[in-house]
């Protein structure tokens, strides 16, 4: 009996020691010094409800994004790059709020994403974020948020 209990305990301990669905933690430790993206996203959402005030050059969304990027200065590159990624992931879907037609609001979202890209020192991330911005500019955002890139002139 004692041996059986030992065996069962051993089996349970081995099974329980494995974490079933361990989720990925952020590539960098989250810490209090990373500014929240919520205020910037909130400003951009407000503009989405009032697209007549959208301005891709000096609009509130672009300005707020620029201020957020400036607030990341001094952070380790990995930290700031992840914060920029989080911001762009939150901003990109806002471009679809106004529907499939292109308007100044989409242009301001694209400009804000380019502004965010300018804060990254990761050239691949910069290129990718600019690609996302271009897709929004081109009004080529599909239903599944997959990007449809432009095709060069010919494949022949």
């Amino acid at each position: 009996m004692r041996t059986l209990m030992l065996g069962v305990t051993l089996a349970v301990a081995m099974g329980g020691s494995f974490s079933a669905f361990a989720q990925d933690v952020a590539a960098v430790d989250s810490n209090a010094s990373v500014p929240s993206i919520e205020p910037t996203v909130g400003v951009c959402e407000t503009v989405s409800k009032n697209p007549e005030i959208a301005d891709p050059i000096s609009g509130q969304c672009v300005t707020s994004t620029g201020a957020y990027i400036a607030s990341l200065k001094g952070l380790p590159p990995a930290t700031s790059e992840q914060a920029i990624a989080d911001l762009v992931v939150a901003l990109a879907p806002l471009a679809q709020l106004g529907g499939p037609t292109c308007d100044a609001y989409d242009d301001e979202i694209a400009a804000a994403i380019r502004m965010a890209a300018s804060g990254s020192t990761d050239p691949e991330q910069v290129a990718s974020l600019n690609e996302i911005a271009q897709t929004i500019d081109d009004c080529a955002v599909g239903e599944t948020a997959a990007l449809i890139e432009e095709l060069p002139a010919s494949i022949n």
Binding site: T3, L4, L6, G7, V8, L10, A11, M14, G15, F18, S19, A20, F21, A22, Q23, D24, V25, A27, A78, E81, Q82, I84, A85, V88, V89, A92, P93, G99, P100, T101, S120, D122, P123, E124, Q125, S128, L129, E131, I132, D138, C139, A140, G142, T144, A145, A146, L147, I148, E149, E150, L151, P152, A153, S154, I155
Partner: protein
């Protein structure tokens, strides 16, 4: 006596090992079903962390590779810093290579390999994966749609075989349920792809051309109505 007690202990320990192995296999098998329904961010994170991989069944493997393909094309994945994004692609790449080696007709695995290879700049695996995926599942609409999108994104890296596969996929989309709408969306969203779609459209039967044109008109009308 030590004999019976030792046998019992060995039996219990062996049972424990088998139980643990079974639990682990079940966890791997169940993972795609539980993780597959959560957000792109969580699926991405689970792949990077290594807690989401291939189960034993073909279906669980298909679900995993579907995530490799779809998550890779998401805004979330594209926005990530290169190191993190590469970690995701490397895991998909390694598992897809192993799967295609074991199962050469596994089209989803070939496409997952091509998708990851494209991001990791492995041009030969990208081309080989694209061609093999088309060859092993030429008539599966979802796969043809993904292959067309992938080929268009990396048009400069296509060799003759990959270009041929690309054209075959567009042809297949003309003939599939839902395919004309996919082509119509690409046609409207991507002016530089329009001529290619039209060139191939001229080679398909009139009924397929009409379905495509009807979809183009329908989507354009929806845009105007918005």
């Amino acid at each position: 006596m030590a004999g019976p007690n030792l046998s019992a202990a060995v039996f219990v320990i062996a049972g424990g090992v088998l139980l643990t192995a079974g639990v682990l296999a079940s966890v791997r098998e169940i993972a795609p079903y539980s993780i597959g329904g959560v957000s792109v961010a969580q699926r991405f994170g689970a792949v990077v962390a290594g807690s989401y991989g291939l189960g034993e069944s073909r279906l669980s493997k298909r679900l995993f590779f579907a995530d490799c393909i779809e998550v890779a094309g998401s805004v979330f994945a594209k926005a990530q810093p290169a190191l993190r994004r590469d970690a995701f692609e490397k895991r998909c790449y390694e598992l897809a290579r192993a799967a295609t080696s074991d199962m050469p007709t596994f089209s989803e695995a070939w496409l997952a390999l091509a998708t990851a290879a494209a991001t990791l700049n492995d041009v030969s695996e990208f081309r080989a994966g694209l061609v093999a995926s088309q060859r092993t599942a030429p008539d599966v609409r979802w796969l043809a749609e993904q292959r067309v999108a992938l080929a268009a994104r990396h048009i400069d890296q296509l060799d003759d075989a990959a270009k041929a596969a690309y054209r075959l996929d567009i042809t297949a989309l003309f003939d599939s349920s839902g395919g004309p709408e996919v082509l119509a969306r690409r046609y409207l969203a991507n002016p530089r792809e329009q001529q290619l779609i039209l060139d191939i459209g001229e080679t398909v039967p009139g009924s397929m051309q009409q379905r495509f044109l009807d979809k183009v008109r329908e989507l354009k009308a929806r845009q105007v109505a918005q």
